[in-house]
Symmetry: D2
Subunit: 264 residues, 4 copies
């Protein structure tokens, strides 16, 4: 006689709710908006923001969120996460598997600095409001310095856009104060550690009032196209099962193109 | 004595190239464009298109690509892939792990219909050009009909946008012809099978000249925000380790909101 | 002109070493032993132990490690991780993808209790050696109680085998002391919380001197066959894309079989 | 008013069954056997076989299955799947995430040859029984030759064990016949392609009557300890975020150890 494994009678099963998307026959409603009405009218970046937060972004916010999404979209072949995706791709695994390999290859040493920096900013702002001293023992602290870029061009641009849009408030000011304090650190006399893209995103998302886990999710989403593009390129340009050397690679695409006045 | 495992001397190691992103100190170049110049100017959807294809989309193409990306962004809690992400989230796994669980939970029965439909369209167009007859034995063929929507509102809207933008050519006409042929199939007298969102994407991407694997990757990217949003909602609204019942759920978000004339 | 992305000249590239497996033409050496000599002589459980620790287990240890590996091999369809694997399988994703979906669906609320319990035992033993009091604020603490089993038969058996093999030392004694202390907790008068399988594994691995991350890896390995078996059963017995109800399932396999004296 | 998304009333929900494991309070039954009775008596390899097939292996079969599981347990640092796991580990991702990265990094060019070879054997045996000629156009066919081993020691040993245990029947004889035919192929005069470990596993599992997907799952399970061991070694021995060079590595563990007469 078969044995019942289930433990709850039907009547006691709790119902549960979602506030993301309603799906009824011939009707899909995303955060209250008919999905087919959004299509062709709402940019993908705005739809991501709407889905994650429940609100349509203002035009300023839309531009800032898009700038953050674009800033992380790819960083060449060297990140371990990208190399994990390439190693999956070279075996003939599907692009989706290569993306999954890349997604699970984010850890506390890579892909977590924006979240860690945000935590420091929260702690630091608490300390400041308590009139206590700030001390930073860890060099470099998350959000400062970059192994390739002495002065991360993405951070410079993000801070500039936030300033133009008057979206730089207490978090942005605080990370600037930390940057100045770090510049006077005796161990860093010859190696300044300016705010990097993780630090800029952490501060700006703090000023935008985005929860830390939502900000972190924006960055995860933004890197998916990069992982996928590397998997596609690997399968299109390279022979299967090659040895992927993390050193011996060149960029052979175009350089020096400009958007011109095509878009503002 | 330790044993050498590596097999190639340094001098024989082949170099390899990437055409996606050039990374030099203080300079990141995406498909030829300085990334920091793109930030704040290029919408995320256009940046995805640029990264995957190497070209900036025209304004019409930009709108069509955004419409496709938005159309797949979420479909509520019932897709197995979304439930896999929720099951990861309820254990306290990270949002990125929940996204990975969702990404690997696409298979030939879910998430592959756009690619399968595209293959049918290619085969069908070859047959037509060879003056041979088309026969469809599989009912429903990929790209037609939907288990929830008798008439998929996303497909209707995508075909309409493609028509407005004069982007509907031979693939779109062919899938329309197949739809008409199916309507006369004796087994489908009472259950018509109109083009669904997978079919619309397959046809439109064919007309846009996008390689099938690039079109498939666009859809993968477009669902990531949905998987992530469900993981965030699961961890924010539900207690850990709950039994996730695929039946007993409601939508409790807003309904009936309109974009109005806020965006065109 | 293409741009060099790599940053280190060949001569400066550091070599690195592995102590796991040497691979030379026609020779594979696992932790010092010729792999082909091990085949047919060494049980898989012993090979796992050898690979993870570098040592062949003694016969007693071999039996205890196998008992731990077997104890976690499957726990029916209800664990969220198993349901994540089933949700992947129902889409037609491969068994390996279903296993990956299951592996990433372990989190701090499921699949981590052995590791958490081990940490508590380490802290507790430190406190005892410092003559300080032990206090457990969290009810239930990791390693005690089970949502299905009032008295986990796997824990009973593991502790019994460890006792028979005289492998129960300070960690095992300490977790027993904690179990006795919990039994006197006023909140638990009617709901005792005996040591569960996670607690038994944590204590026994502590007594065996296995590093916490190695013990945790043993459990990960031991559940892989379960995830794979559910994926195979899903694809063999169920139609694709079914709604997987976490309640409405029965066990319809055999019951009451005995090993008899077939093996000792 | 919230909208109902679920589509089936409770009474219409179909029940479903599993034949793997029955879980009741204080009772876990694996394929009919009380799990706690198996613990300490049944080796892990036998438990894997029981879980996947529903049968306890005979002593001969047990030895053969263990030999196959051990043969794939690790193959050093060079497989792309292992490098994907290492790339995850170097970011500080968890061992389970590194294992997941490795699991999704099996594709049609790596990790699929045993399954492909089995398909060829089935097709070939069908052709033979139909008195038709066999032709192999693909060089090397799956299951023959190895990029490192001119004569794969794992295949030699597996075929030898199968012979000793009188488990080599029609599949094994057929793959030997193919090996002889290949040896006379003009293109292979100086580079013979003997049966490799994938070919040996494919043939032996065919003779054992294991379904192809079950045989494939045995190999997946057998590599998990290898992926995990590399992740543990990476995190223990190397600094985070290092550049993992697939060439510049050595084996620095012991060599030349023997089991001696410790086990038979």
């Amino acid at each position: 006689m078969p044995v019942r494994v289930s433990m709850l009678p039907d009547a006691q099963r709790p119902r549960w709710s979602t506030a993301l998307t309603s799906v009824e026959p011939n009707s899909i409603v995303l955060r209250g908006y008919a999905l087919d009405e959004l299509m062709g009218r709402l940019p993908f970046g705005d739809a991501i923001y709407l889905l994650l937060t429940g609100d349509l972004p203002t035009p300023s916010l839309s531009r800032l969120v898009d700038a953050m999404l674009v800033s992380f979209i790819d960083h060449g072949v060297t990140p371990p996460s990208t190399l994990a995706a390439r190693h999956a791709a070279t075996t003939g695994a599907s692009v989706r598997n290569a993306v999954a390999a890349g997604v699970v290859a984010f850890g506390k040493h890579y892909g977590s600095d924006a979240l860690l920096c945000r935590q420091r900013l929260e702690e630091g702002l608490d300390l400041v409001s308590d009139q206590r001293l700030v001390q930073a023992d860890e060099i470099p602290p998350p959000g400062f310095g970059h192994r390739t870029h002495p002065n991360d061009p993405r951070a410079i641009r993000l801070m500039q856009i936030a300033h133009e849009l008057e979206a730089d408030h207490i978090y942005t000011q605080f990370i600037r104060a930390l940057e100045h304090a770090l510049a006077r650190h005796p161990a860093l006399a010859d190696h300044p550690l300016p705010v990097n893209v993780d630090g800029a995103v952490a501060a700006i998302c703090g000023d935008l009032g985005l929860a830390p886990e939502v900000a972190d999710t924006l960055l995860l989403i933004s890197r998916i196209p990069g992982l996928a593009a590397h998997a596609l390129e690997e399968q299109k340009r390279e022979r299967p099962m090659r040895v992927i050397d993390p050193h011996g690679h060149d960029y052979d695409g175009p350089l020096g193109l400009r958007l011109g006045d095509r878009r503002k």
